[in-house]
């Protein structure tokens, strides 16, 4: 609860800062503030918990805390980069930062909800903030289109989520997650409830961009400003997944065979479609969008062993989000003044800017699941658990897809290290290095010591 309040307060501060013309201090203060919040979330120092009155709405268990920490961390990176990204838009910077902070609030609400209303409001806050951000480059047609597409499809999906919530409410007459969990565990499967959960799941599958609800993702990722794409690709996807997992875990719906089949199918389809489509992309953001779709497929595997996959999912999201963040830091830095994000802009990066190239390489290796990077353990744990749950087919599909994925990740690496660049090197602000290196280092650390994350969760 205190996390949520603090974040909201920070967002309000951002808005006020503009009034008092504190734009210079805005980003540093926000970053510091977020770090402070991160500290308190991780119980590094105790602010004391507010009364437990609100526990029926927001319940900060370890699950929530672990994810919140990740979200805050990602937001720190995003906000830190904002300063440079929006330096041409000084009049709007506080709006941008504030909206990101509020977005974080929505994200935190989505993992710490104890009531479906909080969940719904959280997801809407997050979504509305993202719609805005996606279309925020108002003179850019691509950004407009991205915003429009995202908005239309997002609110359409919201309708389904709302319908789902409604049906659950109709079954049990309550929004409280704990009660729903108890009821659903006790009762025979009431069909309203099952349909409700399915519809919510569909809505969330849309948010995580799983096949066949994925079509928006590449277009929106490509059209949005890069920083926003970074937000969607790292933060939003992870948030949606964490929420989906939490919901499904609470709903006790899982053991029906049909539902498992659905998840298996969607998972395999997402992995395959995402990877195969990514192979032929020229635009890096678009490629990462498809890569994100395939990662969604991977993460869906956790649903198959939902009773005890929380830590694996959490680890996967950390690995994925941090690698994504590092990658986007480089992408933003490299394509800052370019019209598009084509791979050709990365030609010769290995020579002209070895550090950035190394960070991007490491990030891609992590996503591809090469050892010592966290991505490896993430995938490995996932595979192990899924085999244990008896879904060898999915794992084999996952493995084949991992192989395919190397194809396009390495396309980028190849461009960096083997092609000649025609462009002159540009000065790249320190913040991108910092973000890239720090996220990759964290990725590496949790890659070498996976228990850091699992300990957080338990």
């Amino acid at each position: 609860m205190i996390t949520l309040i603090a974040i909201t307060a920070l967002g309000v501060f951002c808005l006020i800062a503009e009034i008092f013309n504190l734009r210079k201090a805005l980003v540093p203060v926000t970053v510091l503030g977020l770090l402070g919040i991160l500290g308190s979330t991780l119980n590094l120092y105790s602010l004391g918990e507010l009364s437990s009155d609100y526990n029926t709405m927001i319940f900060a268990d370890n699950y929530a805390k672990t994810y919140s920490s990740l979200f805050i961390l990602l937001t720190v990176f995003l906000v830190a980069m904002s300063h440079d990204v929006y330096k041409e838009h000084q009049t709007k910077i506080s709006d941008y930062v504030a909206i990101k902070v509020f977005l974080l609030a929505g994200a935190v609400a989505m993992v710490s909800f104890a009531n479906l209303s909080m969940y719904f409001l959280g997801i809407e806050t997050l979504s509305i903030a993202l719609y805005t951000l996606a279309g925020s480059s108002r003179l850019d047609i691509k950004s407009n289109e991205a915003g429009m597409k995202y908005f239309l499809m997002g609110s359409f999906a919201s309708g389904f989520i709302l319908f789902g919530i409604c049906l659950i409410y109709g079954t049990f007459g309550t929004f409280d997650l704990k009660e729903i969990s108890e009821f659903s565990g006790a009762l025979d499967k009431a069909i309203w409830f099952s349909i409700g959960v399915s519809l919510i799941t569909i809505g969330m599958l849309f948010k995580i961009a799983a096949v066949p609800f994925h079509f928006w993702a590449p277009d929106v990722y490509e059209g949005s400003p890069s920083l926003v794409t970074a937000t969607m690709s790292t933060l939003a996807k992870v948030v949606a997944f964490a929420a989906l997992y939490k919901l499904l875990a609470a709903m006790n719906l899982f053991p029906t065979i049909q539902f498992q089949n659905i998840i298996v199918t969607v998972s395999i389809l997402s992995m395959t479609v995402g990877n195969i489509m990514a192979l032929r992309q020229e635009n890096v953001k678009r490629m990462l969008a498809f890569s994100g779709i395939s990662h969604a497929g991977f993460m869906l595997m956790t649903v198959l062993s939902i009773a005890n996959a929380a830590s694996n999912l959490c680890y996967y999201t950390y690995a994925y989000a941090l690698a994504g963040m590092a990658a986007f830091a480089v992408i933003i830095a490299v394509t800052k003044n370019k019209d598009n994000e084509n791979i050709s802009h990365f030609n010769g990066l290995g020579r002209s800017n070895p550090l950035l190239a190394a960070v991007l390489t490491a990030a891609l290796l992590s996503m591809a699941g090469i050892p010592i990077f966290a991505g490896f353990f993430a995938k490995f744990n996932l595979f192990t658990q899924t085999i244990q749950a008896g879904y060898l087919v999915v794992v084999i599909a996952g493995v084949i897809n991992s192989i395919i994925s190397v194809g396009y990740y390495f396309k980028l690496i190849l461009a960096m290290y083997t092609k000649e660049t025609q462009e002159t090197t540009q000065n790249i602000p320190f913040v991108y290095y910092a973000v890239g290196v720090i996220s990759i280092l964290i990725n590496l650390v949790i890659g070498m010591h996976p228990n850091v994350i699992t300990d957080l969760l338990n």
């Binding site: 209303s117 409001l121 429009m148 709302l162 319908f163 007459g173 929004f175």
Partner: protein, 106 residues
């Protein structure tokens, strides 16, 4: 006080909501004018709201109505943002036809 559902039956409301929802979905698919699409989405949301109220009565529970309140807020916020996006799209391409938005593909 007699429950109104005794005379109408919850199933009727469910069917009504479903039909309304489906009409909304149909509208989203059928129309290419972004504004009408927005309206269709609003119809979908309204359908759900109606069902919420019906369930609220069914359970004799105020929470459903409270939720409708939230849902209306959300609808309003969405419309605000959506129309803002729509306006900026219109400014750039001079049309609100969503089938014109095909720059991003492949």
């Amino acid at each position: 006080m007699d429950n109104i559902l005794n005379q109408i039956g919850i199933e009727n409301y469910i069917f009504l909501s479903i039909l309304l929802f489906c009409i909304g979905v149909f509208g989203v698919l059928y129309r290419r004018n972004a504004i009408i699409v927005f309206m269709s989405i609003e119809i979908m949301l309204n359908a759900v709201n109606l069902l919420f109220v019906a369930f609220s009565t069914y359970h004799q529970d105020p929470k459903g109505q409270v939720f409708v309140f939230f849902s209306m807020t959300v609808a309003a916020a969405e419309v605000a943002v959506g129309l803002a996006i729509l306006v900026s799209v219109f400014r750039n391409i001079g049309s609100v036809d969503i089938s014109n938005l095909k720059n991003l593909k492949g």
